[in-house]
Structures are given as structure tokens and as C-alpha cells.
């Protein structure tokens, strides 16, 4: 097994949960997780080693996620499906059965872009603050402080 394959084996479930928390769509999360490996394999020669392979895989994941969200915004049918899915799955899907899970995910959905990214990368992608800083083009401290502040707000919400 080569280094890319090892890195992918290590982060694959984390990539999947990162997509799932953002999209609420198991199938889509599955597809995007596979796309990450496909893109990585095709573009391995562009990997400069400035970050770890794992971080690089997550930067590819962010790229795919943003592309997907952008395409959905353009396509009204996709947008409608998305709304339906959120409504339907939040009650039916097994993985959303726990109320705490639903509350946390719903809270994260309401966040503006940088904190939302910090939370999903940390909680589901299991990235370090240094990596999150790198991925978002911000400092490690920014990631750390944003995470703890947002978590505090989330905890307040859960206690209400």
C-alpha cells in the first residue's frame, strides 16, 4: 500500500462524516468521499508536501463540497430536493434518531461560514487546530478560539 492509500484509509470515515454533517445525505456523502480519492489519485503530482497528505485530502474534500453546494444553489430542482431531504430525513433516518445529534447538527447548520467549517472539520473531520487553520487560510489560534467559543454557545443551546 502506498502513502496516499494509507492516508485515505485513515481519513475515509472522517471525510464521510464531514460531508454527512454538512449535507445530511448519506448517498451524496458516500459519493463525495470516493471523489476525494479519485481526485487525489489524479492530482498526486501536484501535492507539494507543504501540508500532510491527510490535510491535503481534506482540502480536496472542501473543494468538492463547495462545488457541490454551488451547483445546488444554481439548480432549483436540487435545491428543492435538499429542502425535502432535510425535512424527511430529520425524522426518519436512523442516524438522526438521537435528539442531541439533531440539535447539534441543526445548530451547526445555522452558523456562518468560517465557524461552521471550523466545527465540522474539528468534530467530524477530527482535524487539529493547526490543520484547520491551514485549511481555512487562518491561524491555529483563530481555529482554536472559534471552536471553543462556538462550542460554548452550542452547549448553552443544548442546556436550554
Amino acid at each position: 500500500m502506498n502513502t496516499l492509500e494509507r492516508a485515505y484509509m485513515d481519513v475515509q470515515p472522517k471525510l464521510y462524516r464531514y460531508f454527512l454533517a454538512q449535507l445530511y445525505d448519506r448517498e451524496m456523502a458516500e459519493d463525495l468521499t470516493q471523489d476525494v480519492f479519485y481526485t487525489a489519485l489524479k492530482r498526486l503530482h501536484t501535492f507539494r508536501g507543504e501540508a500532510s497528505l491527510e490535510t491535503w485530502l481534506f482540502s480536496i474534500a472542501r473543494f468538492h463540497l463547495l462545488n457541490y453546494i454551488r451547483s445546488k444553489k444554481k439548480d432549483p430542482i436540487l435545491q428543492e430536493e435538499w429542502a425535502l431531504q432535510l425535512a424527511r430525513e430529520s425524522t426518519e433516518e436512523e442516524w438522526l434518531a438521537k435528539e442531541e445529534t439533531r440539535t447539534i447538527l441543526a445548530f451547526i447548520q445555522t452558523l456562518p461560514s468560517p465557524p461552521k467549517e471550523v466545527m465540522t472539520l474539528r468534530l467530524f473531520g477530527e482535524r487539529s487546530f493547526a490543520e484547520i487553520g491551514q485549511l481555512l487560510g487562518k491561524s491555529e489560534t483563530y481555529a482554536r478560539v472559534t471552536f471553543h467559543r462556538t462550542k460554548q454557545k452550542m452547549q448553552q443551546r443544548l442546556e436550554e
Binding site: E30, R144, H148, Q152, M154
Partner: protein, 179 residues
Amino acid sequence: MNRCAIVEDLLPLYVDNLLQEETKQWVEEHLPQCPSCQTALAQMEEVITVDLPNPNEEAAKTIKKVTRQMKRYEFILVTLAFLLAMRTTIIPELTFNGLWAYALLGGLLYAFYRTWLPPIVLSFVPSFLYYVQDDFGDASFTEIIISVASMGTIYTLLSLIGAFIAYAWIQALQKEEQR
């Protein structure tokens, strides 16, 4: 100045034990006297666990599947390059077809790999290999190599033109997307 505001700012670093000893003591002096900062600290220290499921497909399976698919694409591209080299060797004049075919090959290769090396290598090497086998009469070895290499260079240039068109296209599309 309100001490709570400062403590609240310091809490994220306090939780991760990143404060200097002195600052840490200062925060710890404040905490017992202040219920609101205590709550904030407790909320920050709370461990969040959200159990999301695992993907259905195992990573090893994805790796196998995608690698196989990649190899298939690469095989098609290499075959295309060799077929093209074979064709242009049989009809050595630079026909219009030969021209655009190399540009197309270069464009395809660039779009697939997003780098310049494959369009160069895959237009030069196959045509070189085919030409070398040609009948050159009693020309010397160097003469053969020079003539073969110059043909290969022409094809490579054409392929690079195609690659550049693909590059410009991709750049334009990305700019469009960003808007």
C-alpha cells in the same frame, strides 16, 4: 476594565492549557468568585460526542475500484496516443487531420492530468518509436535521430497548443464559477 471580559477571552487558551503560568493563576483567582465565568468554562470543557455512522463502502474497496478506473482511463489515453502516432507514421505529411488530432490529444491529456508533462511525453515518445522503425535508406544514425526528433517536436508543439487551449478554457470556467 471588566475582568470577566478578559477572562472570557482567555478561556479558550485556558481550556487547552496554553496560558503562561502567571496568567493561568490570574484566571484561577477570578473563577471561584464568578459564577458566569464558571459556567462558560464548564460549557467549554464539555466534551461533545456526535455519533455519525460509518460509510457503507470500505476504504480498501474504494481504493481498488477507483485505481482500476484510473488505470482504464490511462490505458485509453495511451492507446489513443499510440494509434495517432501509428496513423501519422503511415501518412507522414502533416495533414489537417494530423494537426488537430495532436492538439486534441494534448488538450485531453492536460484536462485529465492538469499538468504539462503528459501532453509532451505522450505526443513525442509514441511517434518517435514509430518513426525510428521507418525505412531511412542509407541515412546515418544521427541523421535518422535528427529527422525523427524534429517530427516528434512538431507533434509535441501541436499537442502543447491543444493543452494550452484546455488550460485557458479551464481557467475561464473556474473564473466563471467563482462569480
